[in-house]
Symmetry: C2
Subunit: 408 residues, 2 copies
């Protein structure tokens, strides 16, 4: 497995987040030797919030998290993550296996099993073999989390470990945010899933965590697409360990929380962009900005249609400034547009303006621009106030190879 | 260009349709020597109906057809088709060029220019050079249509010429239906479009043609997808030459029209399936049937999501019976499903039943089935009355090659 050409130069320096302990192990869901288990312990008083896949099939672990967070009002003491088996589309036996694995993990943490969360990624349709987890737990050693080792333990087809962090203030208190993520196809070769776990030492109620996470999610994990195949197991969790005394914040719109919300957005956006940079077979990182739509929601639908068009993505792979395909894609988004106002640019080079080819269109300059590894595409679709920014990668023969040759 | 491995064994025998004259020519929209112009003449009294792309960007020729058919209540005397230039996203200059080309064609046919229709396929964003058409028209010879030559004249990246026909009765009158089509990607390499032109010698009013065409279109051209990239220029026309005396039919639900409507459906379905069989890079022809949805519309949305999932399509290319990806795709269609009722079969082999892997799941039998060139996938999503059948092809490295390496 070679590292993606779009990977960051190095693993980032992250701030410490007091109150997050981790243990790494190997249950053996993979044939080859590699960690596939991550167990986290949080202190008394920790609170969590999550956003989960909208895939209607879902999975045992995403169901479990949603039930536990609702029942416990966000209280959390532990998180068990496994790679290699998604435990999705496994019916009641899958739910029972998830519960048994959490019971074993809670025992090790000396925590209330009702306050445990689960996350899984891997093959769909196979019931989790929780006996393998129970067998692996005794040898696992809890210690303050090491970000790189934790990020590596949750990888499936990822070619590099993903993490991001930030520091900020809430009132006068300095707080840290750090997180890890995995994902390289929305569903990788028969493996599921985008997972992200973000931690802060702040003391914040679950409702505030939930509002802050949902807001930050919209412009990060909800603004990326590799192949449009939303997984059954997608899950983003935000855990506040309450180890740093912070002012009592009752609502996310408290002005004292503004810096925290901004920092959280940066961390989530950074993680989301790393997932695109590890897109299966990707050779180009592409930002698509849509302006002039009737609403931000409409702009996002148009941006998504462009980002998921196989013809746009293959043209980018071929370094072809094929703006006609972008125009055709925006036209099939089934959103209101003003034909005579459509404009398309690559970087600062205009391909189309006012519903036609741009007068200054310069094929040679365009072709030179397309050779870059990072592309910025701007599209105007009308005179409305709506705009959106979405990130994607190109569609290469290597993507087809990774996903078509998986079992053979 | 090698012929698709999924192509029919031979060009079909088609019935003659009295009153359709054709002339083939070369305007020179391609660098290489090949016909790129098709001019058709219809007799006085001919009537037409069309269905057109829902792409909001559209094109000069699809606009022109819709205006002309509405203004003339379906009366038609001629049709001018060019390949090599879509005349889409070309603003007022594109509209004017389309009008000038039809004026020249009407003069040659000695027909009212208001009763001419236009269809174009090719590069998006380039204004039609109508002078090339005017220069080519004088040498073009009108004669009763020859189906193969006509079908070849409208090809772009198609690897074989597409046609289908049928005979039926309207009351006591024997009538013929025959049609030609082109398309291989919804948008081929920077080229646009699925075009189909179907002719009958029956005498039917435009309103009846329109209703019959819309009905037949739903289960044919609206039930296929190669890459989901609906073109700016998609157009299906049905022309009745009125050369065979048929009973006066005032409405499409007249029982005497039932056999005609069935025959029309067969012809359109046949043409649509040929387009999938010529899908760019395709090595597998795939029928996806969805049952148990809350409505037919919902079933179609789910079928389309499965058919357009890159992960499903690459798995099929890799001959991998990866039913987990089908389950994941149906879950992200944002349609109501009943998790515990989900079932998936390949041919007669069950992969999943009742929301879990099927007890009789047989990996070896599945793998053997996937080696076939024609696959039948059935999906149950609940207990509702809705069902849909959709056709697609696999996603191969060759697709990426065709669409990524186009300009280089």
């Amino acid at each position: 497995m070679t590292v993606s050409p779009l990977a960051p130069a190095q693993f980032p320096d992250l701030p410490a987040v007091a109150g997050v302990e981790a243990a790494i192990g190997r249950a053996g869901f993979y044939k080859h030797e590699r960690p596939d288990l991550l167990l986290l312990r949080f202190p008394e008083g920790a609170r969590a919030a999550g956003v989960f896949t909208t895939n209607a099939v879902g999975s045992a672990p995403t169901d479990q998290c949603q039930h536990a967070l609702a029942a416990g009002n966000g209280a959390v003491r532990g998180l068990l993550v496994n790679a290699g088996c998604a435990n999705a589309f496994t019916g009641p036996p899958g739910d029972a296996a998830c519960q048994r694995s959490l019971l074993a993990a809670a025992r090790k943490l000396d925590a209330d099993p009702a306050l445990m969360l689960a996350a899984s990624t891997g093959v769909i349709g196979v019931v989790l073999d929780d006996a393998k987890i129970a067998a692996a737990l005794p040898a696992m050693q809890l210690a303050p989390i090491q970000w790189r080792a934790a990020a590596e333990a949750i990888m499936t087809t990822d070619t590099f470990a993903k993490a991001a962090g930030a520091t900020c203030v809430i009132g006068d208190a300095a707080v840290s945010i750090a997180g890890i993520a995995k994902g390289s196809g929305m569903i990788a070769p028969n493996m599921a899933t985008m997972l992200a776990f973000v931690f802060t030492d702040a003391a914040l109620p679950a409702s505030v965590l939930k509002a802050s996470l949902s807001e930050a999610n919209e412009d990060s994990f909800n603004a990326i697409t590799v192949d449009g195949d939303r997984s059954t197991n997608d899950c983003v969790l935000l855990v506040a360990t309450a180890q740093t005394p912070t002012p009592a914040i009752g609502a996310a719109d408290d002005p004292r929380l503004a810096a925290f919300r901004d920092a959280l957005k940066r961390v989530l956006a950074n993680l989301a962009i790393q997932i695109v940079r590890d897109g299966e077979g990707a050779t180009k990182f592409v930002a698509v900005r849509v302006d002039g739509a009737v609403s931000d929601k409409s702009a996002k639908t148009i941006a998504r249609t462009i980002c998921e068009s196989p013809l746009v993505k293959t043209a980018i792979a071929g370094e072809d400034a094929n703006w006609g395909r972008i125009v055709a894609a925006l036209g099939r988004a089934d959103e209101p547009i003003v034909r005579a106002r459509i404009a398309v640019r690559f970087g600062a080079l205009w391909a189309a303006k006012n519903g036609m080819v741009a007068p200054e269109y310069d094929e040679a300059a365009m072709s030179a621009y397309m050779k870059r590894a990072e592309l910025d595409i701007g599209v105007t679709v009308g005179d409305g106030p709506g705009s959106a920014l979405m990130y994607t990668c190109d569609l290469t023969k290597r993507y087809v190879e990774i996903n078509g040759d998986y079992r053979s």
